[in-house]
Point group: D2
Chain length 433, copies 4
């Protein structure tokens, strides 16, 4: 005696790898299938459709197969509504809650598909009926996509779950759309399918990244830069500051160390005690970072220190002057920290989450910790650039399956200057247009 | 006006990724296709079959598509014989010669498919009619698979091509069978599909490698060990020597440095001047390696030094005592070198090629240079294990697309002892059976 | 016109490198010197003494030279008392405050030298007179070494400074004692003088680390283990749990991820969704870590989950069962987090600081973030072992100049099992004594 | 009963670390010493002098101490002549032969000190009396430095030793001068004292390297570039070609792969099949390298292919056009190889040795194998620049103790363009002077 269910695959199901993955799952899990319908998109602009009858020995096996198929974007042909259960306590989710992927997701509610807002990995999905058709004021600016609906679904991280939240459990009534791999697209952003390598043409790759930034800006998109202190030590500070000044950076996500060393360079001409131009070790240089922190504490914060004229150059200075918002997330290895540093990890995550949800393109520059924190909040539809000298870092950051991602194993101290040269030359030209 | 050709795909064409790759190629190259027949293997032991009519704008475009499809294992439905042209001079191949992949390959000759012997990447394929039906004596033990045929096809590296060799050119009449990814197989050898990571359970992976070695030996297979000098410095020498002594190593492929440091340890108790047990730096230790070389030169060679009683322990000693053949390939960074070192790169490659062609399983232990040299000569059907502390080395070595490969980013100085413990315990048990 | 001052060097000033450093500083800074007295310790148990008259062109130059000499342990021959200034506000230090090194330090107060308690880098030194001669009860168990004194000096990080704290400024009246490099000591702990390498005898090094742990425990010392989640993924969890169970770990410093994956393994048999024994990918495995967090939240915390019988194996379990205190420090990349995780960075640093100040030996196992956090709080007298697969991590961690440190570039998944084998065998033997 | 000997140290013995090393050796080896005279150089242009009476328990212990001191540049006060013994056979050295360091060395012969020519590590020193005062014609252009002497001493690698060569044995009568660490010199070339890091100001470091190249050329020095194929893949080929064209490269040391990929780019516009400008994967691109080799074989060699007009751009082209000599050293991982590749390792080493002995400055660009081969032949007086993306490679290459060396962990694909920009702009300016 065996049990069956019909599942459907739609889209570029062959060249996205969806079909291969689906067949693999069924076979590996001991099931079998019949292809009831299979319509192959024969040109690159055509989508395909397949309908499979999946069979397994037990209902439990079948559910496992269907669950795994579902993660790959194969959806039951006869969808039920999503199952909702209330959270029993604050921060406590119902057993068997649905934990999200980072792909665009819909849940079925009273027979209709509702987009899940603010999609992000490892979250619960909360469904609420809106009291008024206008939408809830307390929502953080994320209007539901379907204006007529009086229901919204959105993600919540575990620590934000409140008692009584109606939370999706099980797999029923959920649709996931993994990104299709970009096709007919070579160059930098097509590269990553075969992994990360340092043996790629560096200048050409940087040029293509510059073009993608121009393109994002031209489309009105938001560029988020995530950067680690190595950027300052390696001498790339002035060029990043110029990019901020010239409007290429919409938001900055950093740690205490980045801000400290940026300000140290402004106040004492050094980074970690080394003059980044002459390469000389300054006298007392090993104390400069702690003195820099002390001066900012005395001033009351970075913005105050800029207003007082204490800080008059650098990345943080340009952010303050050009109203580019920044999040300084604290960490247990911080000195000080600066008054601007958000020391509570959950509070910092929430600030980062907002940055990530607004970003159309993210540059992750020589920081693993902050890049992972941002990456955790990104949907798979964001454009991602990861730059690090350590190939393991780049690999780890690209593992999340962004649709458009490029990784470069290169020196941040040469990457940023060449990027700035590409953008600021281009930019100058654009101004004439 | 457009041109078309029919190509066929056979085997596990979906879960091997063959179909996805084929569709991608056609679309990326600007072609289109109709699926004339598509029979999906619905259970994991069933093969699939697809017949596509591929269409492109020009004959040239079509040829490129068909060429690229062909590299992925899709073959024209109406094959012609392979085109043969004579080599105009020694070492000079005809224009447009067919350069091999490392996958099992057949060429069509007078309407019949002939297996290409000694398949290896980047070679020319030479076809010769045999004078007698018995086969040529000069062949190195590689009997053609089709005993009745009086034709053989085999690979030749460029430097071995002789004037007049009949060499395959173009793509017609050639069939390539890329390996299917192992399915229904998890564990170490199923791991590599997602890349290399150091975050894997180390002891369990080593245990599965030990099981694969046992399995290979049980099937009468040949195990080739490729090892670098780091193995000696890291203190794993005694355990590798025990594996040689106990019959787990059929062949050893090393460089001058490995042999020198193995012998240095025997003669002076040090490796690179460091006592590998007490970790003390020996007096005069920095000279030990050059003294070790000098002593072996004086004796006339490693075998002579073993026979004289000069060398009485270690990996080289066990190889001599147990008749395990070794190839010591020279390099421009060698000291000495030892009299046993083959200093000519082509001669050394030929010796390595023989080792590689005989090997069913290859352990690549902490050497990039020698592993690449061996890997260049391996067919994609060989089982490969790559171990290195540097993830970039492991990634590079696994990029060749072996059917069954496992990479471990680990410390060779702990890997070999744990492997030996697994094998020598297992072996002891097996003797009782 | 030039100015001069007499400085003294004492101890193993030549083989510690102190003299070389001192001469270099004077010359590089444009000064000159006369050696007024030089008494060389001619045997390894003899200390040396040198008195130099240092001359520079200006008082400012001289002060810089003397400051830098001072960081190297050369002290003015005619010390003044340390200068004290009150902190103008909470978290604000006086200008020119003395920022500490991690070396044993004394300050001169009313003509007497007072040990600075809880020495740690980048701190301010606060001096307070005790109200009663008995010592202040609010001190965290760190009794001043000089029982008769009614003054104590101790370090404070910037964020702990309170308005009115009397803080040391300038360089006068401060003595620093950099550790002498261990001499007459080869083996693992003598290794690090020449940098970090993966080409060292691994098993012998691990054995010497085991001996150092035994020695530390035999002397009643405190062993702090700092560990990252890679330890769990790499399959070393059971062996670390055994070390905790057998009393080799006095304190554990980890992040949320370590605890989550340890508990995931207990609840679901996986780590990051991979079964660490069979290496199979579990069904739904990618959700296990988030489910594990959810279950612990539901229980109320790790200790509660152990008491409830939910968690019954692993590192966290053994810590709870054996009363081994742990600090789980939060980070912006955390999922969840667990209720036990300290999410505020400053609070977490304070908890880590206490662990670090109590530790005589610290094992830093495959985590950069937590190791840096602990390392920031360690005096240079602590014994340190750093183990990571990434050489850059090991180098960075060893750069702080511990007197006795060993770095190993190895696989944590093989390191811990071999260490446990060494210790638990040794330990068994010791019990008979 | 104990034995003693007087040794002398001269030069910048304190700030070079010589004295510290000497005291450490004596103590570690169980000896003791009296400082009979100690005259400290008190300004940076003054040298120091120390005379020590070293005492040990046995003559054997004393000899070991004196041997080790000697390696550090401490020389017996009462030197004897060097001991000479004839080589018993070709390639066989006498027992106890003196194996060289890479530091400037002199041997004492009939009461006079004779400079050892062509100093290089791990060689034997051969002494020969010249038949005529003019010097031997068979010497490879290396005239003895002391024109009046009728004796010359020079290094020979083991494989070049001929029966009857008079070879220095033991330690007597040998003086070694380790380089002093550069002082009063900060910036890039002063950096390396603290190890290698990727966290250094990249552009400033490259600028200082450019200045050092200018300086070397201005002094009439010889610049040797050692480069690996990653340079081509990373898109830096055109800039290196411009440097060759503009006279900044006097000699090039490469492998077969570098030349193949440089020529592949010329013939097919790709490197490893990837278009280094558009980043597109070329059709048939994976065959380009083997086709490039085949074309050069057909032409008869690189020079012939340039002359035939087949090759008309790139690094090899500019070398041929500008008479910049190159050595292409073969290796077991080579495809082809090209007819110009020296396949015998000893022959290739000899060619490299000549390049190394003529070089005043060596740029080692992203190749470990060829850099080690060149480094093996370099005296410690050569200026060395090592550039690689892998920190372990840079560390390994800098371990040889060059007096002036700088290591950069950076991307060769951005390093060479920025270096070229610095040099070619600078050069243009210089032409006006």
């Amino acid at each position: 005696m065996s049990v069956s269910r019909v599942v459907e695959l739609e889209g570029h199901i062959i060249d996205s790898g969806m079909m291969q993955a689906a067949f693999g799952i069924i076979m590996d899990r001991g099931g079998s299938f019949d292809v009831e319908e299979f319509d192959i998109g024969r040109r690159k602009d055509k989508e395909s459709y397949a309908r499979l009858l999946v069979t397994a020995d037990t209902e439990e096996d079948l559910q496992r197969i269907v669950h795994d198929l579902h993660q790959q974007g194969a959806n039951p042909a006869d969808p039920a509504d999503a199952t909702l259960e209330p959270a029993p306590e604050d921060r406590v989710v119902p057993h068997g809650f649905y934990s999200t992927t980072n792909h665009p997701t819909q849940i079925r509610y009273e027979g209709e598909w509702v987009d899940v807002e603010d999609v992000e990995m490892d979250c619960a999905v909360v469904v609420e009926e809106r009291e008024s058709p206008r939408g809830s004021e307390e929502s953080s600016g994320n209007e539901p996509r379907d204006g007529d609906s009086n229901v919204r679904a959105y993600t919540k991280v575990l620590n934000a779950v409140e008692e009584g939240d109606r939370i999706v459990t099980g797999d029923a009534g959920i649709r996931v759309q993994p990104p299709e791999r970009p096709r007919d697209q070579e160059g930098a952003f097509g590269f990553m399918q075969g992994g990360v390598s340092s043996e790629r043409p560096s200048e050409s790759t940087i040029q293509q990244i510059a073009e993608a930034i121009e393109e994002t800006k031209a489309e009105g998109g938001n560029v988020l830069v995530v950067a680690g202190p190595a950027l300052i030590h390696s001498g790339a500070r002035e060029d990043l500051a110029r990019l901020v000044e010239n409007g290429y950076v919409d938001s900055l996500s950093i740690g205490n160390g980045f801000a400290v060393h940026d300000i140290e360079r402004d106040l004492y001409g050094t980074s970690l005690g080394v003059n980044t131009e002459t390469l000389d070790h300054a006298r007392h240089g090993h104390k400069h970072h702690i003195y820099a922190i002390s001066e900012v504490i005395r001033a009351g914060g970075i913005e105050e220190a800029v207003e007082d004229g204490l800080i008059d150059s650098g990345v943080m200075y340009q952010c303050v002057e050009n109203d580019v918002p920044y999040v300084i997330a604290g960490s247990i290895r911080d000195d000080g920290p600066l008054p601007d540093t958000i020391t509570d990890a959950i509070e910092a995550q929430n600030a980062i989450r907002e940055q990530a949800h607004e970003a159309d393109m993210v540059l992750m520059l020589s920081t693993l910790l902050h890049s992972v924190a941002v990456g955790n909040c990104l949907p798979s539809t964001a454009r991602v650039v990861c730059v690090d000298i350590n190939p393991a870092t780049v690999t780890q950051l690209l593992d999340r399956g962004s649709a458009q991602a490029v990784g470069m194993v290169t020196d941040i101290g040469t990457f940023v200057p060449i990027l700035a040269e590409n953008l600021l030359e281009e930019g100058a030209v654009e101004l004439d247009d």
